[in-house]
């Protein structure tokens, strides 16, 4: 029996919004096994992103325990790569300097020449060839997302926390990125927690899908997705099992969507 990489035990998180207490997460229990891909689906404002912030150590839980690799998460969790929903590219750095920033840090100190090569390869990979010298302010929303993804992929963290990473991409590019993400999770034996509001995307990618309720966020249902890691992101959606799972999870999700639209 293997130890879980991520464990949330009776975790609640309360925010103080100008004197009003808002309960974002209500006694959540969630465990993610090594090399598992878990998708969190739910209406907006249901606390899915808060789960990622807790695992990354950027927020402490109000009550309950958050553990990573058996140890409580205290302060920034440097073993995860986190792609936030918000744009966090540095606006004064060019695209190439943004993507390569993790390799500049003292803890890696990759030589400039190798850094340039890896940045170039990563830019080709996410489809940003030719935009090396552009500033983030000169890119479209989808291109900024790809740059942020590249910035995280380049330093190869063991666990990915992804908050709607492909939300702003067009359908074709999204499919390609899905295939690449699946390939990468296999090749690098990654553990992934993936937040999305797109149920089909969750089923396409994940080993397990957790459906959240509207605020205060609780886990309403968890389903195992039986397609394995060697799946084909493009053709999966035409399988009858895919349709059945989508139907089943949508039944859980649809009651919550109407409730949780206020943010």
């Amino acid at each position: 029996m293997t130890r879980n990489v991520i464990e949330l035990e009776h975790v609640s998180k309360e925010f103080d919004a100008r004197g009003v207490k808002v309960l974002a997460l209500d006694t959540i229990d969630l465990a993610v096994a090594p090399e598992e891909f878990v998708a969190l689906v739910g209406p907006s404002g249901c606390g899915k992103s808060t789960v990622l912030n807790l695992v990354a150590g950027l927020l402490p839980p109000t009550s309950g325990a958050v553990r990573y690799d058996g140890a409580p998460v205290q302060g920034a969790n440097r073993r995860v790569g986190y792609m936030t929903q918000k744009d966090t590219l540095l606006p004064w750095r060019t695209v190439e300097d943004n993507i390569g920033i993790a390799l500049e840090l003292k803890c890696r100190a990759v030589p400039a020449r190798e850094r340039r090569e890896r940045v170039q390869a990563m830019m080709d990979f996410v489809g940003l060839t030719g935009f090396a010298r552009h500033y983030p302010g000169e890119l479209s929303g989808g291109m900024r997302k790809r740059a942020a993804l590249a910035r995280m992929l380049i330093y190869e963290p063991e666990t990915f926390l992804l908050d709607e990473p492909f939300g702003a991409l067009d359908a074709q590019l999204k499919l390609i990125m899905h295939q690449e993400l699946l390939r990468m999770t296999r090749a690098r034996r990654l553990t992934v927690v993936f937040v999305t509001h797109d149920l089909a995307e969750a089923i396409t990618l994940a080993d397990r899908v957790a459906v959240f309720t509207a605020r205060p966020g609780k886990i309403r249902a968890v389903r195992q997705i039986p397609f394995g890691r060697e799946r084909d992101a493009v053709h999966l959606r035409f399988l009858p099992e895919f349709g059945a799972l989508h139907e089943e999870l949508w039944d859980e999700l649809k009651d919550e969507v109407g409730k949780g639209t206020e943010t």
């Binding site: 990354a56 969790n77 995860v80 936030t84 966090t88 606006p91 993790a102 500033y135």
Partner: protein, 257 residues
């Protein structure tokens, strides 16, 4: 290709307009002096030019200009360095800020020129008292703009780097300082105007050298042309400083376009 010549032409038109405006003002001034207003009170442009030429010939303009530039340079430099350092400290350590800021705000509210007599007693009538005054004025402007800049930095930018394994020094160098820089530039630009004003006023009030002294001493001699001549030199100086600073700022924040 087709827009370039037309842009050149509109640029030329604007320049021609600008020259026309200054010529009209000078002409109006020339004809008003001695007709509408006594020459004794309002000198004419030609006398002003002659006065400046005379100052250049006898070397007195250069003497006064050097004193004013020295005051400006030292006062501005000392004030800016101390102000940026204090602003960074206040921004990074909010506790320090909350303890000290009531006093800072109280001193800031004081019209700084009121400190000049104090500085003259402490440091004498020479350049040092004016340097101190300019430094105080510049210090507060840079303190507040730098502190607000540090506070405005998006905490998420630092958090992303921390997750990548960056230490605090690396976050300071790669996020905090570049993100604060535009605020510092704004402070520096605003401070140049105040520094020049303070220098000239300080020299006019209590000094025996400098462009401000030149204005004041011409005035007490009822030398209208001398007053205008000194003012023209101050305007030219201010124009030059603003231009140089603008170039520098534009070059260093290209990403904001």
């Amino acid at each position: 290709m087709t827009t370039a010549p037309s842009r050149d032409r509109s640029g030329l038109l604007i320049l021609a307009g600008q020259v026309l405006v200054i010529l009209l003002v000078l002409a109006a001034w020339y004809f008003a002096s001695g007709t509408l207003v006594k020459k004794f009170i309002l000198s004419d442009p030609i006398s002003v030019a002659q006065t400046i030429a005379a100052w250049i010939r006898d070397g007195s303009l250069w003497q006064h200009l050097v004193v004013t530039l020295q005051t400006l340079l030292f006062g501005y430099g000392i004030g800016a360095v101390c102000g940026i350092a204090a602003g960074l400290a206040f921004g990074v350590f909010p506790r320090v800020d909350s303890v000290v800021s009531p006093y800072i705000v109280a001193i800031y509210a004081l019209p700084k020129i009121a400190l000049l007599p104090l500085f003259v007693i402490l440091l004498g009538i020479g350049i040092a008292s004016k340097v101190a005054l300019v430094a105080v004025v510049v210090f507060f402007i840079l303190l507040f703009s730098t502190r607000d800049g540090v506070r405005d930095v998006d905490a998420d930018l630092g958090a992303v780097l921390r997750l990548m394994g960056a230490g605090q020094m690396e976050i300071n160098r790669k996020v905090l300082i570049p993100a604060t820089l535009p605020w510092v530039y704004t402070g520096l630009r605003v401070a140049t105007g105040y520094a020049l004003t303070t220098t000239v006023v300080g020299e006019a009030l209590s000094s025996n050298r400098g462009l401000g002294f030149l204005i004041e001493s011409s005035s007490v001699r009822f030398d209208s042309a001398g007053v205008f001549a000194a003012i023209v030199v101050v305007v030219a100086l201010s124009f030059l400083i603003t231009g140089v600073l603008g170039r520098f700022e534009a070059a260093s924040s290209r990403w904001r376009s």
